[in-house]
């Protein structure tokens, strides 16, 4: 038992109850998530601002790109489901099932990152970079790579964090609460993708 838990347990009779009835580290994760929601909100608003103010914004996402995005969405939402199953198993004390589903989630996250990088490579190959693109507004590249890059960074960070927490859980350093807390982060990354897809891809489909 950690020192902090010991202190809390001994002080349980004299200390006030937690105002939100959740562990402090879970509250911290929620606070991080709402601040990160504002960061993503600002990024997407900036994207919308630039898109709205550019008369020659490119509508170039072909059907192949949209199919790729649909597969990426399926992979990410499925990873949320596997994370849920892992979290429920961790809370129920089923360690092997919790670990299995946590690492399946990490694998799905890496598949998502691979699909994303493949799409980036094809766009870079077509001449899109941070300062120009062959289809119109020069800021398209910076906006596209900015928004999707920030999201991809979160996916990769989440995969690393889940691996570390999963391995710690296996060794007994972390418990089911830690798996649950990091699952909140993973679901948040999934949630953000639901706004990135329509804003960045679906509103710029080549008709």
């Amino acid at each position: 038992m950690s020192e902090a838990n010991l202190t809390l347990e001994h002080g349980a009779g004299v200390m006030e109850e937690r105002p939100f009835a959740i562990p402090s580290k879970k509250l911290v994760m929620w606070l991080f998530i709402i601040s990160d929601a504002c960061t993503f909100g600002a990024t997407l608003f900036a994207y919308g601002y630039v898109r709205n103010a550019a008369p020659d914004w490119p509508h170039h996402f072909e059907t192949a790109s949209i199919i790729n995005v649909a597969i990426m969405t399926f992979v990410l939402v499925t990873s949320s489901l596997t994370m849920l199953i892992g979290t429920r198993a961790a809370k129920a004390g089923d360690k092997s099932r919790a670990l299995r589903f946590t690492f399946i989630t990490v694998a799905l996250g890496l598949v998502f990152a691979g699909l994303h990088l493949r799409e980036w490579a094809s766009m870079i190959g077509a001449g899109v970079n941070l300062f120009q693109n062959p289809w119109g507004a020069p800021l398209f590249g910076a906006s596209f790579f900015g928004v999707t890059g920030l999201h991809l960074l979160h996916v990769v960070s989440g995969a690393i964090a889940l691996t570390v927490v999963g391995l710690g859980y296996k060794r007994g350093r972390y418990n089911g609460d830690d798996i649950e807390i990091w699952s909140l982060y993973w679901h948040f990354v999934d949630l953000v993708w639901m706004f990135v897809v329509p804003m960045v891809y679906l509103l710029n489909v080549a008709q």
Partner: protein, 95 residues
């Protein structure tokens, strides 16, 4: 709620979120519109927050602490649109 019941509700939400993603793709080809797309995305987000992140099972004080503050910040960001419309029409700054 039993474990089986929970699993059933998780699967239902998972299918609904994927179906809504399919609706968005359909809309992209047949009736694209920012507001419509964002409404569908908001429904997906609400389902994810309430069921996947289990915010509906938490105390109402936590929901009250988190949701209004986040929405307030996101709503305030909408003040950028006036300036982006000014830019596209190349109007000068007001004196």
């Amino acid at each position: 709620m039993s474990a089986e019941g929970s699993m059933k509700s998780d699967l239902t939400v998972y299918v609904v979120i994927l179906a809504l993603a399919g609706v968005q793709i359909f809309m992209a080809y047949h009736s694209p519109g920012v507001l419509r797309m964002l409404i569908v995305a908001a429904i997906q987000a609400i389902l994810a927050v309430m069921y996947f992140m289990h915010l509906r099972d938490e105390k109402s004080t936590l929901r009250l602490a988190l949701i209004p503050a986040t929405l307030f910040v996101l709503v305030m960001m909408n003040m950028v649109w006036a300036d982006s419309y000014r830019l596209i029409h190349m109007k000068p700054f007001p004196k």
